[in-house]
Symmetry: C2
Subunit: 221 residues, 2 copies
């Protein structure tokens, strides 16, 4: 029957279902996208550069593990995380990996810290300074993700469109960029571009999912 005969075996087999869902790199990437907000299968497949059928299968595995839920609207099926606790689990997993795996540190050092070795802005600081109009917060994620939910007061300038907006910034005002999370390159690339133009730019610590998890004010559609 269901794996194992003792209660203990059975319950750990259940816990392992969640672990299994977290054991594939493509599924973890899908989870990060879903942490930004609800998305349909085809949209996820496009942004993750994976075949639709493959994404569909991964999403079903995530659903069977209880990590995502779906709803159908017309032709499309929209998936989202089944709760904040799932975003928290994902975050904790990444933190443990960064803490204890040398390879993660090396990757982060080589690919991210080479772009920006400045301390990121704490969430509370951004919250206070945006409220007081001292800084401008920019959300450099794609418009779809911004639309699904973003930091209250942030303006959306997807990284690909940043070039066109460079002239519009006041050189005296500090710009704080954020994206999908601490391992997303978008905000790193954004501050590099902004600084090349002589603008004052820093990154927010982490990204939108962590902001939302911290119960800071957001705008959702």
């Amino acid at each position: 029957m269901s794996n194992g005969n003792t209660f203990k075996q059975q319950i750990f087999t259940q816990f392992a279902r969640v672990g299994k869902a977290l054991s594939n790199s493509n599924r973890l990437e899908l989870l990060e996208f879903l942490a930004q907000g609800e998305r349909c299968v085809e949209s996820l497949a496009r942004v993750a550069c994976l075949p639709v059928a493959n994404v569909s299968q991964h999403l079903q595995q995530l659903r069977q593990a209880g990590l995502v839920v779906s709803r159908k609207e017309g032709l499309k099926v929209y998936y989202q995380l089944s709760g904040d606790d799932v975003a928290c689990l994902f975050k904790t997993l990444c933190q443990v990996a960064e803490q204890h795996l040398a390879d993660v540190n090396q990757l982060v050092s080589n690919h991210l810290f080479t772009k920006d070795r400045l301390e990121p802005v704490p969430r509370e600081e951004l919250f206070n300074r945006v409220r007081d109009g001292q800084v401008v917060a920019i959300d450099v994620r794609p418009t779809l993700e911004y639309a699904a939910g973003h930091v209250l007061g942030a303006v959306n300038i997807p990284l690909d469109e940043l070039e066109q907006h460079l002239e519009g910034f006041d050189p005296k005002q500090e710009i704080i960029a954020y994206c999908r999370g601490p391992y997303c390159v978008l905000a790193f690339d954004a501050v590099v571009k902004l600084r090349q133009k002589g603008l004052k730019a820093r990154r927010l610590e982490d990204g939108y999912p962590e902001w939302k998890l911290a119960a800071l004010p957001v705008e959702e559609s």
Copy 2:
């Protein structure tokens, strides 16, 4: 070379290493034992009812995922969690599973809540009332685990030895039992036995690992 060519693929492949470590029920059980404190391979194999070679392999996988560290002392190799964040990750995983998997709820209902449907005692309450001498806290885990670390002020009465101590309790004083965690049967079985003897007994919420994680006072060897 190392899985994938883009930074994103590489970093998620690293995160998946941690997920993979959490994807096997026997490894999760080993993690729960290790959350009680340091243990050697043979001792883990005995308590988990698994072949030593199998346990050794699982522990090496956990180590490669950064979740445990080991030290050698004489003939024995002692393993322990590599940090509190690992215990936190394990706890979060179990909570997500309980929150979103119906099978977990059913297992808990059938095997645990049938023994004790009373609300468990919050940690802070136990802390205050033990300090004031209003209750007696008993640790019903095996002596080995108690020795590795326990709630400050708790006395060790392994479940198998509880029978012999039943006469020693003051019927007026409430007894609060704890064990390895919220999915461990030991404390449930203990309160059942105590109540059958007419004693006032309740469970602590969760177990020793969560107490320690909450930075409440512990005694360690």
